[in-house]
């Protein structure tokens, strides 16, 4: 930030996206899974199930970090950082940005997360328990600091004129990161923003949510009368953001416009969501985007499938939208809750809804909860041509972040047909 320069109001667009998830690697496979209403949920394989009575999770599955690293040694980084690097490489590739050229640009790298290097902290805790040695293993220890997530991207891409920041605002972190990218580009303080979120499954988070009774024993059924909770998952989503003018000048394919975002804090309870806090974030996002509720065609819900979340989120949306509430679906029914990656993957789904012409479904849906009065696009994707889409993120600590995306129809538009 620099006080000498006037605040610009650049339009900001998405030119590339990268996905690592239980629903596929890369946006094409991710989009096919969302359209097909596929489930990425299965039994836990990443660490021991012993002692748990149920263990369904959303794992990425086979992931070879070495496939994505060219300059750095992937063993220097934890699993979440490795996911972030892979998703960034995919996004930069989709944006058609030459990595050598990127090194000469001013870049913001912002990576959201809930757990940072917790997967590796788990390993340190296990070693301490097993051996009694309190000194951490240096090879594991250096993968644990949370800033390693954004640093992995910066180091692997050999960026130099760069602001590198990890945003540990828990389960809304992906939206925070994209919002930071938007603000930096609007202000003319970056040429390109690489932003999104990442998390790897950890025993800490699995055991914690399990103990809270927040986890479903089988599947995640957001907005369903019989919903039993969330399913924890892992993955990463990264986006390339550029000012519209710069994207046009280099002949980039423009996927969508980032219209705006809103932040709020419940300042109410460490874990329970608060309707008024969510309402304020949604209203702030609409104001920043210059849209009214009636102009929003689709909402990707935070939709964790817990009793509390879905009721509070529905009430907040009804408060803002009244009778004009568009379809509201929950990706977490398919993906599980990818924590810090969740709202980044939600953002990517909101862009895909625009470019691919469909609304992702809420799967596993049987009976609508009367307290969750939304059209959740039950079980089957629907063809649509949304102009404006909204992505909700709500986190522990009452950290709310809501993002609004818009169809870009000008020159360079990715161009979307009706849904198939």
């Amino acid at each position: 930030m620099t006080a000498g320069r006037g605040a610009g109001d650049q339009r900001v667009v998405v030119t590339g996206m990268g996905v690592v998830s239980g629903l596929g690697t890369g946006t094409a496979e991710f989009a096919r899974s969302l359209r097909a209403g596929r489930s990425g949920i299965g039994p836990l394989e990443e660490f021991g199930r012993a002692g748990f009575a149920h263990w369904n999770v959303g794992e990425v599955g086979r992931f070879e970090a070495a496939d994505w690293f060219r300059t750095e040694d992937p063993r220097e980084y934890g699993r979440a950082a490795q996911f972030a690097v892979a998703a960034t490489r995919l996004a930069v590739q989709e944006a058609g940005l030459d990595e050598e050229e990127l090194r000469h640009r001013r870049v913001l790298v912002s990576v959201g997360t809930t757990d940072g290097g917790t997967r590796e902290v788990d390993q340190l805790a296990e070693l301490r328990h097993r051996t009694g040695e309190v000194r951490p293993d240096p090879d594991i220890a250096r993968r644990t600091p949370a800033e390693r997530l954004s640093d992995a991207v910066v180091n692997e891409l050999r960026l130099e004129d760069v602001e590198s920041v990890t945003v540990p605002t828990a389960c809304a972190a992906g939206n925070y990161a994209v919002g930071q990218g938007l603000d930096a580009l609007r202000d003319g303080e970056a040429d390109v923003a690489l932003c999104g979120g990442t998390d790897a499954l950890s025993r800490k988070t699995f055991a914690g949510f399990y103990r809270l009774g927040a986890m479903s024993p089988d599947v995640c059924r957001p907005f369903d009368a019989d919903r039993k909770g969330m399913i924890v998952a892992e993955g990463a989503g990264m986006l390339v953001l550029e000012p519209l003018g710069a994207a046009l000048a280099r002949g980039a394919r423009i996927l969508a416009e980032v219209l705006g975002y809103g932040l709020s804090c419940d300042a109410h309870h460490p874990t329970a969501p608060d309707r008024d806090g969510v309402v304020r974030a949604v209203r702030a996002a609409h104001r920043d985007a210059g849209v009214s509720g009636a102009e929003v065609d689709y909402v990707s819900a935070h939709g964790t499938g817990t009793k509390a979340n879905d009721i509070v989120e529905t009430a907040a949306l009804r408060e803002v939208f009244g009778a004009d509430l568009p379809p509201v679906s929950a990706l977490k029914s398919m993906l599980g809750h990818t924590l810090g990656a969740a709202s980044a993957l939600g953002t990517i789904a909101c862009v895909l809804a625009i470019t691919e012409g469909f609304l992702p479904p809420t799967i596993n849906h049987r009976t609508r909860d009367p307290e969750c009065d939304v059209d959740c696009v039950p079980n089957v994707a629907v063809a649509a041509r949304p102009q404006v889409t909204q992505n909700n993120g709500m986190a522990f600590g009452g950290n709310n972040a809501v993002l609004v995306l818009g169809r870009y129809d000008g020159p360079g538009a990715a161009g979307a047909g009706e849904g198939s």
Partner: protein, 366 residues
């Protein structure tokens, strides 16, 4: 006040909770005396063995038994105390609604909390017999979001983790939020906790027992707002935030910290249209060893020699404070001439493994 002047981001107040004590006055006194604040505490893992660290004096090492606070880790309690110190200094409050007041905060989180939480999962008979009351503390955003709950801050609540850059990054992020009208007043700063687990982690990151400098805790927090709003709310600016800038360098590709910092500061001064000759104070990070030499050589190159400009390096007196180190440096720039507003530009720099950064403060507008 002109429109341009009114839009300048300013710091109107600050506080610190540091090994020099509680509050800005204690920080100023410690800085002025140059007193080394590093103390000796008893090792928790090897009782009888002394550990050197920068501890906030009088801040209990134990988790208090008080209900409601029992589940809060040291980092969160330090942050609550720090924000309380800053807010009690605001007679009549911050002057705007809770929805327009937020927090932008940098920390590494509590390494100990994560280790203990998961450790219990391994120790107990069943793996989910964890201390669920401490689950929220395992998230890095706990300290800032708890501060929001306690002080009713309903605006943007952002936590960042960026190693030693944290205390400078929060200032830049706060200004972006203010410029976009997302808040009117932001508490921006950084804090870290002392635990022996953090000492062991730092040693491991430095690859050897006792290899890391003494760990320090505490933090500094600043009231950041636009000059026009500050005037309307009756607060007098202490400094203008002229800018922040960051760079990475890659030793394996021939990058050097000194060259990166030189370029970083040059870009920052260009952006802020400020000449190096206007700067009257430099607060540097001054790490031990070759990195510190790189910082010195970059500053010598910019200013023409070590005696050309007044320099401070509070880190040696306080200990290694992680993301709070750069927040302490900003506090030092504001404290260097007593409680008066800044009269000339001050530069804050840091060098770290692979990263450099700088912030520029100036005299208040008008």
């Amino acid at each position: 006040m002109t429109t341009t002047t009114a839009a300048r981001p300013v710091i109107t107040d600050w506080s610190a909770l540091s090994p020099w004590g509680e509050g800005a006055d204690a920080f100023r006194a410690g800085l002025a005396s140059g007193e080394e604040a590093i103390a000796t505490v008893d090792s928790e893992f090897a009782p009888g063995t002394p550990v050197r660290a920068g501890i906030v004096p009088g801040f209990s090492m134990e988790y208090p038994g008080t209900r409601g606070l029992r589940s809060l880790d040291r980092l969160t309690r330090l942050t609550l105390r720090l924000s309380e110190l800053l807010l009690t200094g605001q007679e009549g409050g911050l002057g705007c609604g809770p929805e327009d007041t937020g927090m932008v905060f940098a920390t590494s989180g509590s390494h100990r909390t994560g280790l203990e939480f998961t450790g219990r999962s391994y120790r107990e008979r069943l793996p989910f017999h964890v201390d669920v009351a401490r689950f929220p503390s395992t998230a890095v955003n706990c300290a800032a979001s708890r501060s929001a709950i306690v002080h009713g801050l309903k605006g943007p609540n952002t936590t960042l983790t960026a190693g030693p850059a944290g205390g400078l990054l929060v200032l830049g992020q706060a200004v972006r939020l203010l410029r976009q009208g997302r808040a009117q007043v932001l508490l921006a700063g950084a804090a870290e906790e002392y635990t022996e687990d953090r000492v062991l982690l730092e040693d491991a990151l430095h690859r050897g027992e006792g290899a890391a400098p003494p760990v320090a805790e505490g933090g500094a927090l600043f009231v950041v707002e636009l000059a026009g709003g500050a005037a309307a709310r009756g607060r007098t600016p202490l400094a203008t935030l002229l800018g922040t800038r960051f760079r990475a360098y890659h030793a394996r590709s021939g990058g050097e910290a000194g060259k990166a910092l030189h370029r970083c500061v040059t870009d920052l001064l260009d952006d802020a249209r400020t000449g190096a000759d206007e700067i009257t104070l430099v607060v540097r990070s001054d790490p031990d060893g070759p990195l510190g030499e790189q910082e010195d050589s970059a500053l010598d190159g910019l200013f023409g020699g070590p005696d050309a400009v007044r320099q401070l390096a509070p880190g040696h007196r306080l200990g290694h404070a992680g993301s709070a180190a750069s927040a302490f440096q900003v506090a030092a720039a504001l404290a260097a001439n007593g409680p008066r507003p800044l009269r000339a530009p001050a530069l804050i720099t840091f060098v770290a493994d692979g990263r450099v950064g700088a912030a520029l403060l100036g005299a208040p507008p008008g």
